[in-house]
């Protein structure tokens, strides 16, 4: 059926004769495709970035957990040509930074504040309270993350529960929208411990939540206005607002997410789980590649930081039965500290703000500000992963070797889900090992359709593509994909 590629066989043969050490040396590395550049934070400056934004004047603004905002000049250039200057200080652990009409908008623990340098001396002199309609009891876990402005000009704020377990003051565990006029619109309930908030290319808002009660694993959740996203701890505030309609029924502890989603109409299941330890341990900031190719071939996909593993993960989303769901893939490891704040510039540079304070992270630094750039080389990766009624459709960033890609033994699939419970986290449960019945390579060698006996709706589908080779004989840079199959697409 498929033409054997002489080239790939030759490559394989040469690899085999050279023995394993040279495979290790010749294996493509993440750094070949995406390069990390550390921005030179001056000695004596402690910058623990919680929010980043590129200003129209070309500077990168970074707000720090210690309450400062620094401006970095020439952030897209060489490190030795960059300069850091202090723009503001005295903010309360800000975890969100964006700008509009000459104002910087910083989301502090207790309010969204807009700042301006009126007298043009390089330091902000106006700190205007833009919105503050939520409570802060004094618990360190009561973080507030702020988004960029959505297409309607709203800024979205996601509020961690008190102690990450309960809701002692107003709207803890909720998502609020701040209108252009500064009004506060309660938008979603059911949040637990957010790690970041950001939009996809369509302007729909997402946030990451972390493993804990009612969250079997870290995940990316869609903030669809009116929805309840899973943790009932903050639902007492339905008493305070009609914005979301009636309070949803409490989920039953020990159940499964999709079982409860069928019973509770407001419950929106996580779009993508990040399986614990396999992908990360503390999902954080979100950025979307809307650069039209300046960041490589992953246009419109989402990039999500992990604070513990100091990595950036990649997420492909599709809509099935009106709900977002999709797959996550490892993307880039090796940041110097926990990846928390992500910001994609129109030029295709992904800035990553890193902090390891309070929660250990890989990398060996307490804090860092780094930039991830595409080298121009495209890695051999699964590009997109779409659910089909009886399997998945995979697209690849490069043509596949049709022989290995057509062999079912090149793939290994397992599925599992999580206990949806009031207890902390969940092991992977209800596991299955479905059979890959067939793998069909499309004529363009860019797509493979795998048929599975059988899919498990409600489960994460963990696919290992250990045997698949590119037309050039290379293995995938990342061989794993994790698809969260909440809903099955209808047969077309």
């Amino acid at each position: 059926m498929f033409r054997k590629l002489v080239v790939s066989l030759l490559v394989l043969a040469s690899l085999a004769t050279n023995g394993s050490p040279s495979i290790a040396q010749d294996s493509p590395k993440e750094a070949d495709y995406y390069a990390i550049t550390s921005l030179p934070i001056p000695d004596g400056v402690v910058l623990e970035p919680g929010g980043l934004t590129l200003l129209p004047e070309g500077q990168l603004a970074a707000c720090s957990r210690r309450g400062d905002i620094y401006l970095v000049s020439n952030p897209l250039g060489k490190p030795e040509e960059m300069k850091f200057s202090l723009f503001a200080s005295g903010l309360h652990e800000p975890l969100g930074l964006t700008h509009r009409d000459g104002w910087l908008y910083a989301t502090q623990r207790g309010e969204v504040t807009r700042l301006k340098d009126v007298n043009q001396d390089g330091r902000a002199d106006v700190f205007e309270t833009f919105a503050n309609g939520w409570g802060l009891s004094g618990d360190y876990h009561e973080y507030a993350f702020g988004s960029d402005f959505d297409p309607d000009g709203n800024l979205w704020v996601v509020l961690c529960l008190t102690g990450s377990f309960s809701s002692e003051v107003k709207y803890r565990g909720w998502c609020l929208r701040i209108t252009p006029e500064g009004r506060v619109l309660p938008t979603c309930s059911g949040l637990r411990s957010p790690g970041g908030v950001g939009m996809n290319a369509a302007g729909d808002m997402f946030y990451t939540d972390n493993q804990g009660p009612w969250n079997g694993a870290c995940s990316l959740k869609h903030l669809k206005p009116g929805k309840f996203v899973g943790h009932p701890g903050g639902n007492r505030w339905y008493e305070a607002t009609d914005a979301l309609g009636p309070r949803p029924a409490d989920p039953q502890s020990g159940s499964r997410m999709m079982t409860e989603a069928k019973k509770i109409s407001q419950l929106e299941p996580p779009a993508v789980y990040f399986p614990y330890q396999k992908m990360g341990q503390s999902a954080a900031g979100i950025a979307c590649d809307t650069t039209g190719g300046k960041f490589g071939v992953f246009q419109n996909q989402l990039f999500v930081g992990d604070q513990t593993h100091s990595t950036v993960m990649r997420v492909y989303l599709e809509q099935v039965q009106g709900h977002y769901q999709g797959a996550c893939f490892p993307f880039r490891q090796g940041f110097s500290s926990g990846a928390v704040a992500l910001h994609m510039t129109p030029q295709g540079s992904l800035f990553v703000g890193c902090t390891g304070r309070g929660w250990g992270s890989r990398g060996g630094k307490e804090y860092a500000l780094e930039r991830l750039d595409w080298t121009g080389q495209t890695p051999f990766e699964v590009h997109e992963m779409r659910a089909r009624p009886d399997g998945f459709e995979l697209t690849f960033t490069q043509p596949v070797d049709p022989q290995t890609a057509a062999e079912v033994k090149s793939y290994e699939l397992s599925t599992y889900t999580y206990i949806y419970q009031a207890n902390y986290g969940s092991p992977e449960v209800d596991g299955t090992k479905p059979m890959i019945v067939k793998a069909e390579v499309a004529p363009d060698h860019r797509r493979v359709r795998i048929t599975v006996d059988r899919l498990q709706p409600g489960h994460v589908h963990e696919l290992h593509l250990n045997g698949v080779r590119s037309a050039e004989g290379l293995p995938l840079l990342h061989k794993e994909a994790y698809y969260t199959l909440n809903y099955l697409p209808a047969a077309s």
Binding site: E111, G138, D139, G212, R362
Partner: protein, 920 residues
């Protein structure tokens, strides 16, 4: 004299004693008798297809069948792990005689689920009564119990402990609505059985009485044991036999009580310093009556910390006054027959507190005085029990203890000799599995265990197996599983997918660090534990228990090394995994340890973000200490674990320090992962002597305003969760509360220490660092009043008093706070002013009033007293304020017992400028 002999101390016990006899028979007829509970049998054998001989062997040991039905060979005896019955040497000091009587009469009625059989089921009711009475006298001849009152705070602490430390892994939870679980080891009605001191003593060292380790030692402190006992005995009512009066004060010798007013008076069951409301700086006076039966010389012993005195009939008998550690003094005194007034005075300054009085005399062996006292003359003292046992009945009881077979299971020393059993029974292999104890309706002469049909089935299989040949000792996995079943290790631990916390008990396993999830609250699994832990460490844990996981509230109890035999070496043999050879290195150890030190610290792998280091807490969660790793872990296991923690401990929060076996720190030891792991191990091998890793010790981080003010917004004690603190270069500082729209704190000198919020997670409220902190009251700064007499409006704590609009900084970086209140727009600029003395805060308001109902006022101060002197006001006779306005005349008004300094802003639609200066 039927019950007079044991006139009870406890009201409830007395009532119970009087009714138990009849009560027992009534129960027996209408309550289904529960079979003996052996948790491991109920969980893994009953109603299952499990190996019947194995299950039967478990019961042979747990019901101690082999105590009567002998095994022939020594090897065979070693094959059965026997649960020895409680040692009864001093049972009279532990268990109430009333309970002994009731329990011996109807064991399963009094304690459903007990493994003790009814040995008297076959004798007539009248004979049974005689036998029981004799046995009770014999047992009670070993001592007397001593009642103490149960304190409510101890009950509450004990309830928490009982449900946290691991008691409910085996016993029925007593909180919530847990259904009765078949695996719950029964406790019976403990308040009928034990006094508080007796149960507390048992809980502190259960292996002393029950050496077989089925009830392990949870390493409770003396106070914890008393707390748990108090909870278990919370229904106990102990009437006092001694009047006491309680005083508070600081003394270095006994005070003159006649000049003092007692804080409390009441009756106490015994000379118990626990009736005090606090642990230090108090005094007690106890008064009671001692009725002497035989006149003659009596000797008294008085021991206390701190001072005490014993008075009899108004005469000082022993003076043990002054501040001292526990010190005993004694004196002899001639006493006539009849009542004598006894008084004990006691005081405690600080530290430990103890008080004990003992006496002896004609016909009275040495004993605590407490028991002999009554509140009034003519009452029967509690001490009459124990000393009035009938010697004839004691002898008869001793005979019965031997002949009935009690001595077959219970070790008991009497008059220095161990009582030997005289009961002869058939050897195990000679038994008929349908007869004797195993019959559906046991023969009258046989001990009645009330075995369940399942238990008869399994025991029958074991008896049949015994006929086929001697029992072989179990080996390998089966031996380990049998031990884990026997000691109910499975109640907490899972191994090889067997056992683990039962779902109904799961919720009782708790943690101090919730975010650790199940890992933080469920005891660790034991699969491959022999690969992980060093055998010596396991032995140490078996022998001593463990509390190495600070976050886990359940404790690993001490089972007694001899009880668990060779479990550690068995686990080691079974679980040992082949390992890669450890990396060869030619690095000197010092260099490796140094590299390990870097790797563990905050510029390496940040192990110390989660792991404690001896006494030093980590900056994040408090995971197991790095200083014991080298003692606990096998080195080769450590190497494999470091490479992939989640594979060996599913669900762990421990991230892979070397993901995919690759080092993320190329600058250390050439980035060689295996060498780095080796270096960490070398570093850990120094244990508590290892150098403290970087990132653990934190000093203060003082914020100092040099040329511009510093704004510090955070959780500030006294100024709220969104407080904005401003430190001026002039060294006057303030904290503004944007929620209450007020200056909350003023102080001088050092500004703030940011270390609380800028290191680790930043938890908690931080007070000012400097001196002379002035706390200003809350309440809205502006209000509209319908009349000058109207009260200043109260503002509910959670409602904002107005709208905070932010702040702007002037050229020098000084903030002007912006807010709306009472329909006026306020610009509020407090600045520091240097003076020759302390710096001051001068505050300028610009208030633009919009129209509104009522007259607008600024409340410049509210205090207990405000005295005016021109533009100056003395506040609370403590500090001064100047108030100057371009409009309006300030007034001081008294309202609701306080004074308020109000400034009317008469021109309600104009702009008013006000200056307020704080001198404190």
């Amino acid at each position: 004299m039927r019950f007079g002999l044991f006139s009870g101390l406890a009201l409830r016990t007395l009532a119970a004693a009087a009714s138990l006899w009849t009560c027992a028979t009534a129960f027996a007829s209408d309550t289904a008798l529960t079979h003996p509970v052996v948790p491991g049998f109920e969980r893994f054998f009953a109603n299952s297809a499990a190996d019947r001989v194995l299950g039967g062997r478990l019961l042979l040991g747990e019901l101690n069948c082999v105590a009567c039905h002998a095994l022939e060979h020594d090897a065979e005896k070693a094959a059965i792990s026997v649960k020895q019955a409680p040692v009864l040497d001093n049972v009279g000091q532990r268990v109430r005689p009333e309970y002994l009587r009731a329990f011996l009469t109807a064991p399963r009625t009094v304690k459903p689920g007990t493994t003790m059989p009814d040995l008297l089921a076959g004798v007539s009711a009248s004979k049974k009564k005689q036998h029981v009475e004799a046995l009770v006298h014999f047992l009670a001849s070993t001592g007397t119990t001593r009642d103490l009152a149960v304190l409510e705070q101890a009950v509450q602490r004990g309830e928490a402990l009982f449900h946290q430390v691991g008691c409910v892994a085996c016993h029925q939870p007593r909180r919530g609505e847990t259904r009765p679980l078949a695996t719950s080891v029964p406790l019976g009605d403990l308040s009928q059985k034990y006094t508080l001191p007796a149960l507390a003593a048992f809980l502190q060292d259960p292996l002393h009485v029950r050496p077989a380790g089925r009830m392990p030692n949870l390493n409770l402190t003396e106070i914890e044991a008393r707390d748990v006992a108090s909870f278990l005995l919370r229904d106990l009512e102990v009437p006092g036999n001694i009047n006491f009066a309680y005083y508070e004060g600081a003394w270095d010798k006994l005070p003159d009580f006649s000049q003092l007013q007692p804080q409390a008076t009441g009756t106490a069951p015994g000379l118990d310093v626990g009736v005090a409301r606090r642990r230090d700086q108090f005094a007690l006076r106890f008064e009671a009556v001692l009725t002497v039966e035989q006149p003659g010389q009596h000797r008294f012993f008085l021991s206390s910390d701190d001072g005490s005195q014993l008075w009899i009939d108004g005469q000082l008998v022993i003076d043990n006054d002054g501040i001292h550690a526990t010190t005993e003094k004694d004196a002899k005194v001639q006493l006539t027959a009849g009542p004598h007034a006894v008084r004990v005075d006691y005081f405690e300054q600080g530290g430990e507190e103890t008080l004990k009085v003992e006496y002896q005399g004609p016909g009275v062996s040495l004993r605590p005085l407490d028991y002999a006292l009554t509140r009034e003359a003519g009452q029967t003292p509690a001490s009459d029990r124990g000393c009035r046992v009938d010697p004839a009945l004691v002898q008869q009881g001793r005979q019965l203890f031997s002949s009935l077979g009690c001595a077959s299971c219970h070790a008991m020393k009497s008059e220095g000799d161990t009582v030997k059993t005289e009961l002869a029974a058939l050897a195990l292999k000679q038994l008929d599995a349908e007869k004797g104890c195993l019959a559906v309706t046991p023969q009258t002469a046989a001990p009645h265990f009330a075995l369940s049909s399942q238990q008869r089935l399994f025991l029958g299989a074991a008896v049949e197996a015994a006929k086929q040949g001697p029992f072989e000792p179990l080996s390998g996995r089966a031996a380990v599983a049998h031990t884990l079943t026997t000691f109910n290790c499975y109640a907490c631990h899972e191994r090889d997918r067997v056992g683990g916390v039962e779902s109904e008990r799961n919720a009782f396993f708790a943690t101090t660090i919730q975010e650790m999830g199940d890992e933080g609250r469920i005891p660790p699994h034991l699969t491959h534990v022999g690969d992980k832990l060093q055998p010596q460490w396991m032995q140490r844990v078996f022998a001593q228990g463990a509390k190495d996981r600070p976050y886990l509230l359940a404790r690993m109890p001490k089972f007694g090394q001899e009880n668990l035999g060779d479990l550690a070496s068995l686990l080691k043999t079974l679980d040992d995994q082949p390992s890669d050879p450890l990396p060869a290195t030619n690095q000197p150890p010092r260099r490796l340890k140094n590299a390990g030190h870097r790797l563990v610290g905050d510029q390496g792998l940040s192990c110390i973000k989660c792991h404690t280091f001896g006494e030093l807490g980590s900056t994040g969660i408090q995971a197991i200490s790095l200083t014991t790793m080298h003692q606990r872990l096998n080195e080769d296991w450590f190497h494999r674990y470091m490479l992939n923690p989640a594979a060996m401990r599913p669900g762990t929060r421990m991230p892979a320090p070397w993901p995919d076996g690759v080092s993320l720190l190329p600058g250390i030891l050439d980035g060689d992962a295996r060498q780095q792991i080796h270096a960490v191990w070398m570093f850990l091998a120094d244990g508590p002597q290892a150098a403290v890793p970087r990132g653990l010790t934190q000093g203060a981080m003082e914020l100092v305003a040099e040329d511009r003010p510093i704004v510090y917004r955070n959780f500030i004690e006294g100024a709220g969760s969104s407080a904005i603190a401003v430190g001026f270069p002039e060294k006057a500082n303030l904290a503004f509360d944007p929620h209450g729209l007020r200056l909350a704190l003023l102080w001088q000198g050092a500004f703030m220490d940011a270390s609380r919020h800028w290191t680790s997670r930043g938890s908690g409220f931080q007070p000012p660092l400097g001196r002379n902190v002035l706390k200003l009251p809350d309440g809205a700064p502006l209000a509209r009043l319908a009349s000058p007499d109207e009260s200043w409006p109260d503002t509910p704590a959670k409602e904002p008093v107005g709208v905070f609009r932010g702040y702007r900084l002037d050229e020098k970086g000084r903030p002007t706070f912006l807010y709306d209140c009472a329909n006026a727009r306020v610009e509020d600029t407090p600045v520091a002013v240097e003076t020759e003395e302390d710096p001051r805060i001068r505050r300028t308001y610009r208030i633009e009033a919009n129209s509104g109902e009522g007259a607008l006022y600024l409340r410049a101060a509210t205090a207990g007293s405000i005295t005016r002197d021109g533009d100056w006001y003395l506040i609370d006779k403590d500090w001064r304020m100047r108030l100057v306005s371009d409009r309006g005349e300030p007034v001081v008004r008294s309202h609701n017992g306080r004074q308020e300094l109000l400034l009317p802003l008469e021109s309600a639609d104009g702009v008013t400028t006000i200056t307020q200066e704080y001198v404190w």
